[in-house]
């Protein structure tokens, strides 16, 4: 399917909040992104943190735009520094004339900043927090000061503080509001008009050629993990088992917090093997079961994955990838598990692999995975990654809707159908589609056994050739049948581009954003984005690849795993690679620059 490159964004303002772990960098980022969204701005916020509870530099980068955006963007126009070190760390990524807010107690050489073309904006953040509330409220003051500097109104933040802290009691909320007001006043009086970059009015006329977003507010601000959870809920997920592992843990926590409200059994298991086995047990008897994990946990699950394949048990595994190998970069992003999940576990069995690229696609994968798992009676793996899972993006409420959402339980036999059964029930009946009518334990007409050994139609162990071959073929046939449900790649940008960026999963956001940057350099490019990776819809893929320009695989791994998959399945050889495996997400500017290097000589 062909879609516009990016929703015509021109105005971008980037803010970075940086400090030590434990200083509330991410919560400040979450607060600011949500306040901006309430104020009518579209936001994209990316946390960057280390695997430790305290100490070490963390930051949160926010991009504000008039229309929906798909990634963060460099350089940064306002830096909010909770430590002096923050200024040194982020200086290289500041735009000319960028502002730097810091506590006036820091020993910062303002003159040196000015000489470097930056605007020093010291604010007595500690003092204001202590005077009007407590030192804990420094973050609130900092966000308010940043709002003041940017001429962003204070009201959205105040409303948010009431909503957020109101639960902790009126006094906490009021103290936060007092801190915010004082910091805002200070910043406004001293610095209003000092920065060339402002967020005065999202519908303002900086670029009259770009109409304001027709959808308008209010916007939600949510992470990819949260969007996936919402999708899983509407998709009928009733069982979640997991062992905490960054960056998938928020899925388990989200479900646990809503277990009562939604009626979803949520089990924090003793290890990942137990988690997937519990989910398979639940799936076997009829629950829609989910296992969120990351690569290391998925590695532990591989033997059980084969059990789900062999015994044809529906189960959904969300692998939220992080930097590998082994413990790797625990809090960072990577797309290093694609070929692993395609091949994990011994022997051959059908599995389905989906890789959402945007928050909307996370939502869709959330419900679609359960339908596919039950329809094809096999494990479905949703490949997300830290960047997509943790980034906070604004979306109009209508962006996540029930349009198209449905429950498809496939060949599941109802109690009434089983009542009418006039011959012995065969759980693994040989069929043309490979899909056997499925019963759940508990019906007198459908008493059956299942085994991870090779088995006959009735689930009894066999090693006979005349059963092994038909059963193996039956299972594998499901992959052919499932192709009907697999989508070909989406194309963004012009059909007849000179350069085609080939990507999967979360890379689509910055890749799409890079197209306008490339266009400004005279490169007419488009993006081919693969979401349904296994079984790979080869015909659809080949058709799209035939129309590709000079092709560049853009992936967050070291070996170009999608490019290798395409080569394996279609024979298509990409012309070049833009690969990144430093654990940090691609910014559109990085993709554009490296694509230019890659194709520069020819364009």
């Amino acid at each position: 399917m062909t879609r516009p490159a990016v929703p015509g964004e021109t105005f971008t303002l980037s803010i970075t909040i940086g400090g030590d772990a434990g200083q509330g960098v991410e919560s400040s980022g979450a607060l600011f992104t949500q306040a901006l969204a309430r104020g009518g701005w579209h936001v994209f916020g990316v946390p960057d943190y280390r695997s430790r509870i305290r100490g070490g530099h963390n930051f949160f980068q926010i991009r504000a735009t008039r229309r929906p955006s798909l990634s963060h963007s460099d350089p940064v126009h306002l830096l909010l520094a909770f430590t002096r070190e923050t200024i040194d760390v982020h200086r290289h990524n500041l735009a000319p004339g960028a502002g730097v807010i810091y506590d006036d107690g820091f020993r910062v050489n303002g003159e040196a900043l000015r000489a470097a073309g930056l605007v020093p904006l010291p604010v007595p953040l500690t003092k204001i927090a202590e005077e009007h509330g407590s030192k804990l409220m420094l973050n609130t003051g900092a966000v308010a000061a940043a709002s003041g500097v940017l001429a962003f109104p204070l009201e959205p933040l105040l409303g948010l503080l009431h909503d957020t802290f109101g639960r902790k009691g009126r006094r906490v909320a009021e103290a936060n509001v007092a801190v915010a007001r004082a910091a805002y006043r200070y910043a406004t009086e001293r610095y209003r008009g000092r920065l060339a970059y402002t967020l005065a009015d999202p519908a303002g006329s900086v670029d009259p050629a770009v109409p304001a977003d027709s959808e308008g507010g209010p916007f939600m601000v949510l992470t990819g993990n949260e969007a996936f959870c919402l999708g899983a809920v509407v998709g009928g997920c009733t069982f979640v088992a997991a062992y905490p592992m960054t960056p998938a843990t928020p899925i388990l926590e989200w479900m646990a917090a809503r277990e009562k409200q939604l009626g979803i059994v949520t089990k924090h298991a003793e290890d990942e093997i137990a988690a997937i086995c519990m989910a398979i047990g639940a799936g076997f008897v009829g629950a829609r079961a989910l296992v969120p994990t990351s690569g290391g946990g998925f590695s532990l699950m591989t033997e059980a994955l084969g059990m789900a394949g062999m015994c044809e048990v529906p189960v959904v595994i969300a692998n939220v990838q992080r930097g590998g190998p082994s413990t790797g970069l625990p809090t960072r992003t990577e797309q290093g598990d694609l070929l692993f999940v395609l091949h994990a576990s011994q022997g051959e069995f059908p599995r389905i692999v989906l890789a959402p690229g945007t928050h909307e696609q996370c939502f869709e994968a959330g419900w679609r995975a359960f339908n596919l798992a039950e329809k094809y009676q096999c494990p479905v793996i949703v490949l997300s990654d830290q960047f997509l899972a943790a980034s906070r993006r604004s979306l109009p409420l209508g962006a996540l809707s029930l349009d198209g959402v449905h429950i498809d339980r496939g060949a599941l036999l109802s109690a009434a159908e089983l009542d009418r059964l006039d011959q012995p029930y065969l759980r693994y009946r040989l069929t043309e589609t490979g899909i056997s009518p499925r019963a759940l334990p508990g019906h007198p007409r459908a008493v059956f056994t299942s085994t991870t050994d090779e088995h006959g139609e009735d689930g009894h162990i066999t090693e006979e050739i005349d059963l092994r071959v038909p059963m193996m073929s039956k299972r594998m046939r499901k992959l052919q049948t499932a192709l009907a449900d697999m989508r070909g790649p989406d194309r963004y940008g012009p059909e007849d581009a000179d350069v085609t960026l080939i990507c999967w999963g979360s890379t689509v956001g910055p890749a799409r954003e890079s197209l306008s940057l490339l266009a400004a350099e005279g490169v007419r490019a488009n993006v081919l984005h693969f979401t349904d990776l296994w079984p790979l819809p080869v015909d659809k893929a080949e058709e799209a690849l035939r129309q590709a320009g000079r092709s560049v695989a853009v992936e967050q791994n070291a070996t170009g795993q999608l490019a290798r998959l395409l080569r394996m399945m279609t024979g298509f050889q990409v012309d070049g690679h833009v690969l990144k495996y430093d654990g940090r997400p691609f910014a559109p500017q990085q993709i554009a620059a490296r694509v230019l290097e890659e194709v520069g000589a020819r364009v």
Binding site: M220, F239, A274, P444
Partner: protein, 296 residues
């Protein structure tokens, strides 16, 4: 369901004949499970027997009941998931000593303290038999096998002591050579609300030439015959549970009734089993709208 609608051991008859060696203790265990289910008036469709991998784990293949022979060491986890999704099923786990106490040791430990209403029958023959004779976690010190040619050095796992320390609410030991005792013990275990361990001493006629029928017959005694024994006392259970050698106690070694099983604490199950849910109820625009509002 039996054609005649009568529940007896024939109701549980499988068309497949066991592949166990003649004289294997598993035959006695299979017969005892069938007899216990019949006496408890449980029908094949109401039971779910989960096993792992090993000789004894083939048991679900030889009984007409819902069964799932999973992977090595994991049946407790699979069974827990099934029980949480459908607490109406009578869930039995049947697996060997290697499966339960070796590769599955972590799940054993956590299932004890979790206390789901699952009956766990361990076919404990102190040997890896299906792989043809290697020492197991319960093999005695000095036991010579292909992987312990100079005799086992490690201390054996004592399942009774481990279960007791981990908080199990029902711990019993029985013997494959005493079918009546075994059936009685399984019935008591299934009648217990919560996790119930039945460690079944089981001679392996093919590979364990030490712990034979004669060896056990000379040593076992039933604590039920001892009027001073109090199975509700953890102290008594520890004392007898750690007795091993010239005398080996069998019977119900420990029981603590009235502890609500894990699944009764799960709020999502308050409205009944998950399998009865109407999944389309979630397609309510009001629900999604409410969830989305959390993010505005």
């Amino acid at each position: 369901m039996s054609e005649n609608g009568v529940l007896d051991t024939k109701t549980y008859a499988s068309p497949y004949r066991p592949t166990w060696c003649p004289g294997c203790g598993d035959f006695g265990i299979l017969a005892a499970i069938k007899a216990a289910l019949v006496d408890l008036e449980i029908w094949p469709h109401e039971v779910f027997i989960v096993s792992g991998i090993g000789c004894g784990s083939k048991l679900p293949q030889y009984i007409f009941a819902n069964g799932f022979m999973t992977i090595h060491g994991r049946p407790l986890a699979v069974a827990t998931g099934a029980k949480l999704a459908n607490p109406d099923l009578h869930v039995l786990v049947v697996s060997g000593d290697g499966d339960s106490y070796g590769i599955g040791g972590n799940h054993f430990l956590h299932t004890c303290r979790r206390n789901p209403d699952i009956t766990h029958i361990v076919e404990n023959n102190q040997i890896y038999a299906l792989t043809k004779g290697q020492y197991s976690p319960t093999s005695d010190v000095g036991f010579r096998t292909t992987t312990s040619p100079d005799g086992v050095v490690e201390l054996p796992v004592n399942p009774v002591a481990v279960a007791l320390a981990a908080g199990a609410t029902f711990i019993a030991r029985s013997y494959a050579g005493e079918p009546k005792h075994l059936k009685r013990t399984i019935m008591a275990a299934m009648g217990h609300r919560g996790y119930a361990l039945v460690d079944v001493l089981q001679p392996c006629v093919a590979f364990n030439k030490v712990n034979t029928y004669n060896w056990y017959a000379e040593r076992i005694y039933d604590v039920a015959n001892d009027d001073t024994y109090d199975p509700t006392s953890a102290r008594d259970a520890w004392e007898r549970g750690t007795e091993w050698g010239d005398r080996i106690p069998i019977g119900i070694l420990y029981r603590r009734e009235g502890v609500p099983p894990y699944e009764t604490h799960v709020p999502a199950l308050a409205d009944g089993p998950l399998v009865d849910r109407d999944l389309t109820a979630r397609l309510d625009p009001g629900l999604l709208e409410q969830l989305k509002r959390e993010y505005v």
